[in-house]
Subunit: 343 residues, 2 copies
């Protein structure tokens, strides 16, 4: 029998292979796999949104520097972020946890304290879950439910040429925060008497350990009377996400380096590693900001928002998704993607 | 800092500890943790049901004898079973999978072929999920959504004294099927040239490897005009489940050994192990049959069903949940519970 290694097809190959197999059959299923959340018609003027994520120890987090309370918070936030990315409001979550007897009751209390803090912050109810043994590391699987008015839903595939590309908050901080945490871990392993040097790094480290979902933006857009023409959350880096929007919408894009929002703390932290902050912004991931497009006519309504940067525009050339550098160079934007399985 | 071992509080202790922390805040959340599925009001005459389960390699399944296709089927069936246990109809599922590069593309195709077969069998759409690396074994997390007419929902807490206790299908087969598979595995490890001796054991082995959710019973009860007063699915064994119904409903129960449905194949297979089939029926688990109660006045409507056995009745003595043996003895029913974390 043939054996094809997973690494030969990669994450996106695997997802599209699965995707092809499953075509929704029910009239209530408006959108299955392929967006930030599934979309279900329950027979009201709102759609039900469903999103799910699995976090695995040693792949998505390292308990040697991620406090369990932050981890619990993050597990909820990243799923709420998927609901926000449909222009939706989160309502309920389920949380399943696989754990070994390496974890004490007190440790699990910490994890759930973080989950609870996130439930309060995002005003969602934890309504179910499963607790089970795991032979190895901690596994956390969260499903989030949310709602969105039918007329306000934002898919990945609605962008049109000339739409303005918007990014919330700032990019690349979570990535350089991770580099710092990994460096401290290496140094600690070499010299356990070392004291961590993270005092002035709280912003970028916090962005890695305890990201926030931008539900505030959903409300802000609603108040401004703006419905995004397309939207996605930035979990894998701007490059990967803009390509998703372009591919699914059948458009191209021009993104201007000088317009990319990058925090001063992110610049400073990148200096230490002699890294370009652009790398983290484009390919770092885990910022959980929102990337969306708006019609040009909506620009006036949100141009003064302190939370939104206008980084480029969509074009009618689907094969050209480009970064325009500060020096005026044009480079194709490429997705680095997800490489866990090939490691 | 104090360290309390998980084994000192056990699964039910952990669940109730978590449960106490999370009180639903939203008016749309009708029922959170504590039943087979969460219950959400979406503003129609149907409730939305949500249930989730996590299956972990080495804890819930052993790939040395569980074919991946069956495993995929089972992962869906056990979640659909939770929807059925609310008297509901399943509609959508999400499936997240954590896997290592030990798995080939072909192996994952097998897993998803089983998932697909179950989606077709239960008429549900797979609408989302996550695929991620796992440092160790296979982890499968499924969330099922379903619906139930508000007037027909069956909770665990609605049983009344004198209600008749009903069980679908037969009990204990999955447990003895597991004993057979474990024995074949041990013998194969001792002598790899051995041929498996499972030819005439297909019923009990099949019940372990590929259980079915009893959505057919939900339709049958609907056709008969019967709404169960309480319901739960039998995942941990009849003893554990009847105690859940009694505790949550505030009633006692008398269950008659002679009325317990046990298949001939289950008796025969138990003989080989010199085990009592009663053990598997009461404490074996994984049968995924439904346990429910009905008003006495509904008995006539379903008494001739070939799928339902009437095994006892509820009483007004909450502290007495008893098995009446064939010899007339009375024994308190005790839950063995879930011991994964104490191993």
């Amino acid at each position: 029998m043939t054996r094809t290694e997973l690494s030969t097809i990669g994450e996106f190959g695997l997802i599209s292979r699965i995707n092809q197999q499953f075509t929704p059959q029910l009239s209530q299923t408006i959108k299955g796999i392929g967006d930030d959340a599934a979309v279900i018609d329950t027979g009201t003027d709102e759609y039900l949104l469903v999103s799910t994520d699995m976090l695995v120890e040693g792949v998505h987090f390292d308990l040697s520097y991620a406090p369990l309370k932050h981890l619990g918070y993050k597990a909820i936030a990243v799923n709420v972020s998927d609901i926000a990315a449909m222009n939706g409001i989160p309502r309920q979550v389920t949380v399943s946890v696989g754990l070994s007897n390496r974890f004490s009751v007190e440790a699990i209390d910490e994890l759930y304290a973080g989950i609870q803090a996130a439930c309060e912050a995002y005003k969602v109810d934890l309504v179910g879950g499963d607790t089970t043994a795991s032979r190895s590391g901690l596994v956390i699987s969260v499903t989030a439910l949310g709602v969105v008015e039918k007329s306000k839903i934002a898919y990945r595939n609605g962008a049109k040429p000339n739409d303005i590309i918007c990014v919330t908050g700032d990019l690349g901080a979570a990535y350089v925060g991770l580099q710092l945490l990994e460096r401290e871990k290496r140094e600690f392993l070499e010299n356990p008497n070392m004291q961590p040097e993270l005092e002035d790094k709280s912003y970028v480290v916090g962005r890695q350990l305890k990201p926030e979902a931008r539900t505030d933006i959903v409300y802000e857009l609603q108040d401004a009377g703006v419905i995004p023409t397309s939207m996605i959350d930035i979990s894998d880096g701007l490059a990967s996400e803009i390509l998703h929007l372009c591919t699914q919408s059948g458009v191209g894009a021009q993104v201007f380096e000088e317009n990319l929002p990058i925090a001063d703390e992110t610049y400073l932290a990148n200096d230490e590693f002699k890294l370009s902050p652009l790398t983290g912004a484009l390919n770092g991931g885990e910022d959980y900001e929102l990337l969306f497009t708006i019609q040009q006519s909506d620009y006036e309504k949100i141009k003064n928002s302190p939370h939104i940067s206008f980084v480029g525009f969509m074009t009618n050339q689907p094969d050209q998704v480009e970064l325009i550098t500060k020096g005026g160079g044009r480079f194709p934007i490429q997705a680095q993607g997800w490489q866990h399985l090939s490691k």
